[in-house]
Symmetry: C2
């Protein structure tokens, strides 16, 4: 189908007419656009999550993960919880990367303490043929949550919307859940590439419609999580992951309500393909901890006044199990690895958004996160005033 | 302790006086030394394994994995099984990467269908202080198996000995088994680097003594499996994995009984650090499927007549779940990715040893392996005679 035929849900139309509070902290968005900021902005993947006791309390009231994610009030509440504890520079919608295949009818669930599980899997020609871009109305709970969170934030920090990448969704749709070898999805890829391309095309068009609806509902930036791109072989990554991430990006709205919407792509384990990812039609590339930030800046970060990608990442979340002084030392190391960001307010240049290289562990002591946040803000301010 | 004080076990002394049959197929060893060969040699990680019904039958007789690995007759039998099916160019000792910590007294076991498990873990200062390089006599079953296999091979192909890397052993010793986040070992690394360095120093000296004893017993090449080096952050990898792999390599015997012994290092997920790994004191670097072989050749493979590393790898083992014609196409793609190997018999130059990028899956259809082996041999011969 032609993506231009997709009707956006009415919730989005409503959102376009809404007025949100003016943004008070635009550090994150400026860094996305490679504009100079007075500190390195930060947020943490999975910042609203099980390491926070208040999150666990809300989840207990909701009864289940999907009960939490599909309830606008609960989703709003947990999205704001980490911001009440830490001066983070962005909020991210509380949801899951697998809402789109759930809306396709595959039946997503999370058993207590387990990863995602699909009741229906997509392993044969008949199941692939039955797939279609879902009616975005089935995802209205997400768009409603975006709008509600945006209001609740009241302009404090920008709100990031997100989705899994077409390939990452396909992994779960074929495997039915997590995997340690991706045997079933790779078997389809290598033995029935025609079916795999069909799944990925549908996923890409669905993800694009989904992210556009999040933008219409109030998301101020969007991120594509290619969590499993790094399990692919060189060659297969470009054909089956990167090309479909690009298909998503090409369909995304560039601006909404007069404001440009930056796009972030994060391929876990994708460091070897950074120069190819630099060709993506997006503003920011996320990096995991295996990547040397200085080298990434040299390869894709660009020069002052020239084009390039903003870089997001990349501390190992396991650093948060060390003691606060050790965490601070590791944080300084990551900031030094990127080097002094550009400071010219009149033009664009290399910028860094501090983050983890993967989601925060549920076992993380919350007070250790405070040490990380404080060090990022303090040290990155000092770094800007240091002699080159 | 000083490694020079280590007494090699008497089994090794015996082996030095043994005579083995002359080697009939030296293609693998020549490729390790970057010498021209008439085809690309191949062997498969975990080639003696559960995908072979005859292996499962032997394992059933042995009662357990450790029963299989510690019995010289069983270990010899299963090492030779894949060679009876396929014209592979090397044999690899049937054993486990974790025999060294088992000999340290940690109590290795494998429950049916499960990964490795240690009865005793190394998580605190007391446990670290209690660690020592084990008496190599506790690993005599391995050295005896090496000698027995070498005799049973009767010169057909060379025999590769191996061990886990110091870091990879440490992962299992601290975690007690497999892990999906390496939280405990990374917690020690980030919060008690002094303890981690002590564990790694002992591991490195133990692995060096272990590999030297395998060489004395008859191993014609040795390989260090750094299976979990790729989970480390940039910086931590160099400090906690690469440096200790180098500590192993520096202590290894360069030759035995007048024959040089090539050394292979394989860091799964280490593609980003290839240029740093090129500085290792070894002959061959193993690569997983995320690495572009042509790019790796350009970076570390060297020129004809110049120094460089031989490259080993790197097809995705999941390719073996496609149909034979599709497997052949993927194999040709990997050979083409490396490009035409050098063919000058008078000097050294870039060489490739075909392998998987990881161990073969237990679910692999054995007849699919035959398609891979046949294509590697046929196509790589043709490749050498093609115009440049």
């Amino acid at each position: 189908m032609d993506i231009r035929d997709l009707r956006l849900p009415s919730a989005s139309t409503l959102a376009t007419t809404m007025t949100f509070a003016a943004l008070l902290n635009d550090t994150f968005l400026k860094a996305c656009w490679r504009q100079a900021t007075d500190h390195t902005p930060l947020w943490l993947m999975r910042q609203a999550g099980r390491y926070l006791p208040e999150y666990c309390a809300t989840r207990a009231r909701a009864g289940s993960f999907m009960g939490l994610a599909t309830n606008v009030d609960f989703a709003t509440e947990v999205t704001l919880q980490p911001l009440a504890r830490y001066p983070l520079d962005a909020a991210i919608l509380f949801s899951d990367i697998l809402t789109v295949p759930d809306a396709m009818g595959l039946g997503l669930s999370f058993a207590q303490g387990e990863g995602p599980h699909f009741a229906h899997v997509v392993r044969d020609e008949a199941a692939v043929k039955a797939l279609a871009v879902p009616d975005m109305d089935k995802l209205r709970y997400v768009f409603d949550a975006v709008t509600a969170i945006r209001h609740a934030l009241n302009g404090r920090v920008p709100l990031i919307g997100f989705s899994g990448s077409p390939w990452t969704l396909a992994c779960y749709m074929v495997e039915g859940g997590g995997s340690d070898d991706y045997r079933l999805v790779k078997q389809m890829l290598y033995s029935r590439p025609d079916l795999m391309h069909r799944v990925l095309t549908i996923n890409a068009d669905a993800v694009a419609a989904y992210l556009n609806a999040q933008i219409e509902a109030g998301a101020q930036a969007v991120m594509v999580f290619d969590s499993w791109g790094g399990v692919l072989a060189d060659g297969a990554f470009q054909t089956f992951s990167l090309a479909y991430t690009q298909r998503v990006l090409q369909q995304l709205k560039r601006a909404h309500a007069g404001v440009d919407i930056p796009r972030i792509v994060f391929t876990k384990g994708g460091g070897l393909w950074l120069q190819q990812m630099a060709q993506l039609d997006c503003e920011v590339l996320g990096l995991d901890w295996t990547v040397n930030l200085g080298e990434a800046r040299r390869l894709v970060g660009g020069q002052v006044g020239g084009p390039g990608k903003a870089l997001q990442g990349n501390i190992d979340p396991m650093v948060l199990f060390a003691q606060p002084a050790q965490i601070a030392e590791q944080v300084r190391g990551v900031l030094e690895s990127f080097g002094k960001p550009h400071t010219d307010p009149t033009t664009t240049g290399p910028t860094h958004i501090f983050n983890l290289g993967h989601g925060i562990s549920q076992h993380t002591p919350p007070e250790h996160v405070a040490a990380l946040v404080e060090t990022v803000h303090q040290y990155s301010r000092a770094q800007r005033h240091a002699p080159v």
